[in-house]
Amino acid sequence: MQTFATEAIEWPDTAVQLREQVRALVAEHGEGDPVRRANCWTKADPAFSRKLGEAGLLGMTWPKDYGGHERDQLERYVVIEELLAAGAPVGAHWIADRQSGPLLLRLGNEELKRRWVPAIARGEAFACIGLSEPGSGSDLASVRTSARRDADEWVINGQKVWTTGAHVSHFMIALIRSEAGSERQAGLSQFVIPMDAPGVSVKPIIDLTGAHEFNEVFFEDVRLPASALLGEEGQGWRQATAELSLERSGPERYLSSMVLFLKLVRHAEAHPDPAVRDLVGRLAAEAWTLRLMSASVAAKLARGEDPALEATIVKDLGNSYEQAIPELVQAAVEMDLAGEEALARVTAYLLQVSPSFSLRGGTREILKGIIARGLGLR
């Protein structure tokens, strides 16, 4: 049995130059507060996103005709892992660049593509994901938000929840029941909903750290043109689940606590301690392994394969790793969690946000269920 086909990764020849470009850009933007550099892909900074757009670092793999740069997938991988390792504030454009843009290019009609894709590549249009609803979390096939046809328009009613970045986004790609009375995976479609459409309202949800990152989104008789349907009517489930390999295996699934690991190394430089040293060794080994695993999924995606099982393994291991770091650091170093020291502040912050790492993007239990199915169980 071999669950993860391992192969050599051909890193692009431009990797070194791309890394230098990203490092310079991040340094110029200013590194800022170490707490903001933790879990940085939820930190929205539209000005930084525009800078990346100007530098040609968004929509990197997309056709030039749609504002992209026709570079290869692994070049993009190099750029995003650099941004995350540096703790850059990439939250505003993250979802649009990672999955909404590719989805629009793959399935969107010309009108949708022209309207959104070039703007995403410029770092000017941001997107959110409308999957979860109050009654539909892990059991996503139970979504109830509805789309009803009225002449040549669609009328949307219902509610999404936990929508990351809805308040800074320009559009949502939502999974919606487009056939009245349909059940489960059937009768679902994806729609592109401009956030400024009449009838769309966004209500903040404050998380346990006091931050506003996710939201409730309400739809009240939201009228959309026929062109708002993404892909095929009734194929929403298949379309939405096909994006998951993109969503699950990226370097954001193991790097959310990298800044804390680096703070731990900095601490160890000044305060030699065998226990901390050994912890640094173990965490470094894990980071090195996860990077190879994540990049090897990226290489498979680049070749047009769909390594869904491998992607799920990367997310599960990566989330456990980034989740364990704050706890391990707290156990290894005496600190005043309420104090001003950077190590303590980042630890305190990550202790609070890390429970979300194994929830967002599919919970640990759901991922393990997918892996079990891949093993031939169930």
Partner: protein, 248 residues
């Protein structure tokens, strides 16, 4: 996998499967020698196979997978480094990482087959979510050990690979704990018997975890190296280890 490695695998797999944990030096070593496997890394000019570390990974992994009771990995690394040297110790750690990766995959396969067959409460154990989730964790660990061994092999082929081998052995060692626990747990009492072969894998896994440096050794080596380079160097060093040389 390229053609050479596929050929190597096709040659080693059935032989190791046949010899397995019951192999003896007197009876079976000649068959290993006949295939030239101990000379895997010896250059063709010197009458060897001229293989790479990635080729060696294939052989080591299969030796682990089939719990081969012959010192083939030892013989292969002996052609590259003198026993007692630092390099020999490092190469030994790489060999064990690869054997661990193979043995974990084998144990996972046995465990999955077993839970799909064994019935309790009127259905196969594999239908119970608690069993599924444990095996999923095992699969993640086996995957990590395999990727780590591959990364170390590639690094050895590029040159200096102390960091990668240390990381791969540490990662493999960690996978041993979770993997052997789950493999035995889902088997119940049958897995605890001498007759049922699971122990041929798990007892080796426990042994290999200590061979050529356990967790304490390699976490110290790696931790010291990372701290000596400093926080600012960690990420640039990590990426420089895999990036192609820049062309001018």
């Amino acid at each position: 996998m390229n053609d050479t490695r596929r050929m190597l695998a096709e040659m080693a797999d059935p032989l190791f499967a046949e010899l397995g944990p019951g192999a003896t030096m007197e009876r079976d070593w000649p068959r290993i020698e006949e295939l030239g496997l101990p000379q895997l890394l010896v250059s063709e000019a010197d009458g060897g196979f001229g293989g790479s570390w990635e080729d060696a990974l294939v052989v080591f992994r299969l030796a682990g997978f089939h719990a081969l009771a012959l010192p083939l990995p030892e013989a292969i690394i002996a052609s590259r480094a003198e026993e007692g040297s630092d390099t020999h110790f490092l190469l030994g750690a790489f060999a064990r990482s690869a054997q661990i990766a193979g043995a974990l995959d084998a144990a996972l396969g046995i465990a999955v087959a077993y839970v799909n067959e064994r019935q309790q409460f009127g259905r196969p154990l594999g239908k119970f979510q608690a069993v599924q989730q444990s095996l999923a964790s095992f699969a993640c660990e086996a995957a990590a050990a395999n990727c780590a061994a591959m990364g170390a092999a590639q690094a050895l082929d590029r040159g200096e690979a102390r960091f990668e081998v240390a990381a791969a052995k540490l990662r493999a060692n960690r996978a041993v704990g979770i993997g052997t626990n789950v493999a035995h747990q889902v088997h119940g009492a049958i897995g605890f018997t001498r007759e049922y072969g699971l122990h041929e894998l798990t007892r080796r896994l426990w042994q290999w975890r200590s061979d050529f440096g356990g967790d304490a050794h390699w976490s110290k080596v790696l931790g010291e190296a990372v701290i000596a380079r400093g926080a600012d160097a960690f990420w640039p060093d990590l990426t420089a280890r895999t990036d192609p040389e820049q062309r001018d």
